[in-house]
C-alpha cells in the first residue's frame, strides 16, 4: 500500500524514511509535517520510518484570522 501525502497516493521512498520522502518531494520551504495526525519534529525526519498506508501531511504558512 502506498503512502497518502496531502490526500494523494505517493510511492514509498527507498529507504522508507520521512527524510528521503521529503528529499524526493522537495516541498516549498518553510513547511511542517504530520504523520498519521501527529506532528513530526524536523529533528527526527531521518529516524521516522514510514509504514504502508501512512498519511503524511505537509503544511505551509497561509493567511489566517
Amino acid at each position: 500500500m502506498p503512502l497518502i501525502v496531502n490526500g494523494h497516493t505517493t510511492p514509498m521512498p527507498d529507504p522508507p524514511t520521512l527524510e528521503i520522502l521529503l528529499l524526493a518531494l522537495e516541498p516549498q520551504r518553510p513547511y511542517a509535517v504530520a504523520r498519521n495526525d501527529e506532528f513530526v519534529p524536523r529533528s527526527i525526519y531521518h529516524q521516522c520510518e514510514l509504514m504502508d498506508g501512512d498519511r503524511i501531511e505537509i503544511v505551509h504558512p497561509s493567511a489566517g484570522g
Partner: protein
C-alpha cells in the same frame, strides 16, 4: 509613561491584532498592515492546494517584509488532538511560542468548545506555549483558562466573520470588572470601528480584527479607521468616563441667568 499592551511579558505600543485572511491581494494586505500598525498579525497553516504553490509563496514572502510579530492560529480545529498538533507544527514553522488557540465546538457559528479549549490550553502551557485562547464570554470558562496557565483571554464579540459587534455587552463588561488584571482582547465578530472603540472604552486591552478590514470596499482606509477608533476608545477609558445619570443635569450654570430674579424668588419663599 508610555501606554503599552503587554502579552506574556512582551510589550506592544499598538493594541490591534490584525488577521491576514480574505484580502483581495497580498499587496492590499501589506498596505492594510501599514495603516493599522498592528502589534501582531495572525497566520495559519494549510496544505498547498493544487496550483496554489505560487500564491502561498507570495503571501509568505510579502508578509515577512512587514516585519511583524506573528500569531499563528489553530483555526478550524475541532478536536483537542488537532489543535495540539497544529500548534506544534506552527511553533516549528513560525518559530514562535505564541499561539491563538481555537477549538471549535459548533460548525454553524464557529463557537469555541470551552471543554476542549481548557484541555488543549492546559497541555500547550505545559509544553511552553504562550496561549491566547479564542473563548466565549463565560466567566467560569475564562477562570478555568487562567487556571490552566493562560495569561491572556480573547473572548468573542459575535461569531467569526459576522461583523455584528458585541452581542452580549453586559457579559463582556462583567468580564472586565471581574478580571481586572488579565489582558482581554476582543476577538471575532467586530464589524465597525465603533464596535472596537466601544470595547476599548469598556477597558478591553486590545482587539483582533480581520474580516471587518479585509472585506471592506477600501481595506486600507478601514484599517486606519480601526486604528483611530482603538486609540480613541483607549484614551476614553484612561480618561475615565463620566457617570451616567438618570435625570437631566444642566451643563450651563443656573445662577445669574436673565429673566430670573433670585432675590425675588427667595423673598417669595420667605413670605409663604
Amino acid at each position: 509613561m508610555q501606554d503599552t499592551l503587554t502579552l506574556y511579558g512582551r510589550s506592544f505600543t499598538s493594541r490591534i491584532l490584525l488577521g491576514t485572511a480574505r484580502y483581495e491581494s497580498p499587496a492590499l494586505l501589506v498596505d492594510a498592515i501599514k495603516a493599522a500598525n498592528p502589534a501582531m498579525v495572525t497566520v495559519a497553516l494549510r496544505k498547498q492546494i493544487e496550483g496554489g504553490a505560487k500564491a502561498g509563496e507570495s503571501f509568505w514572502q510579502i508578509l515577512r517584509t512587514t516585519n511583524r510579530e506573528l500569531l499563528p492560529n489553530t483555526a478550524g480545529c475541532n478536536t483537542v488532538k488537532e489543535a495540539l498538533n497544529t500548534a506544534l507544527m506552527a511553533r516549528e514553522l513560525f518559530e514562535t511560542d505564541f499561539i491563538k488557540l481555537e477549538v471549535i465546538g459548533d460548525e454553524e457559528n464557529l463557537q469555541p468548545d470551552p471543554f476542549g479549549l481548557v484541555e488543549a490550553a492546559t497541555e500547550l502551557v505545559k509544553q511552553g506555549f504562550r496561549v491566547l485562547p479564542y473563548c466565549t464570554d463565560d466567566l467560569v470558562v475564562c477562570r478555568r483558562l487562567l487556571d490552566a496557565g493562560c495569561e491572556v483571554l480573547m473572548p468573542w464579540a459575535a461569531p467569526i466573520g459576522t461583523g455584528q459587534g458585541p452581542r452580549n455587552p453586559r457579559a463582556l463588561r462583567e468580564l472586565r470588572q471581574r478580571l481586572p488584571d488579565v489582558p482581554l482582547i476582543e476577538d471575532a465578530g467586530l464589524g465597525l470601528p465603533s464596535h472596537a472603540c466601544q470595547v476599548m472604552e469598556w477597558g478591553f486591552d486590545g482587539v483582533l480584527i480581520n474580516t471587518a478590514v479585509s472585506r471592506a470596499i477600501d481595506p486600507v482606509r478601514m484599517a486606519r479607521a480601526f486604528a483611530d477608533a482603538v486609540e480613541a476608545g483607549r484614551s476614553a477609558y484612561l480618561a475615565g468616563p463620566m457617570p451616567v445619570q438618570e435625570l437631566a443635569v444642566p451643563s450651563t450654570p443656573e445662577i445669574g441667568k436673565p429673566f430670573w430674579d433670585e432675590a425675588a424668588r427667595f423673598a417669595v419663599q420667605e413670605t409663604t
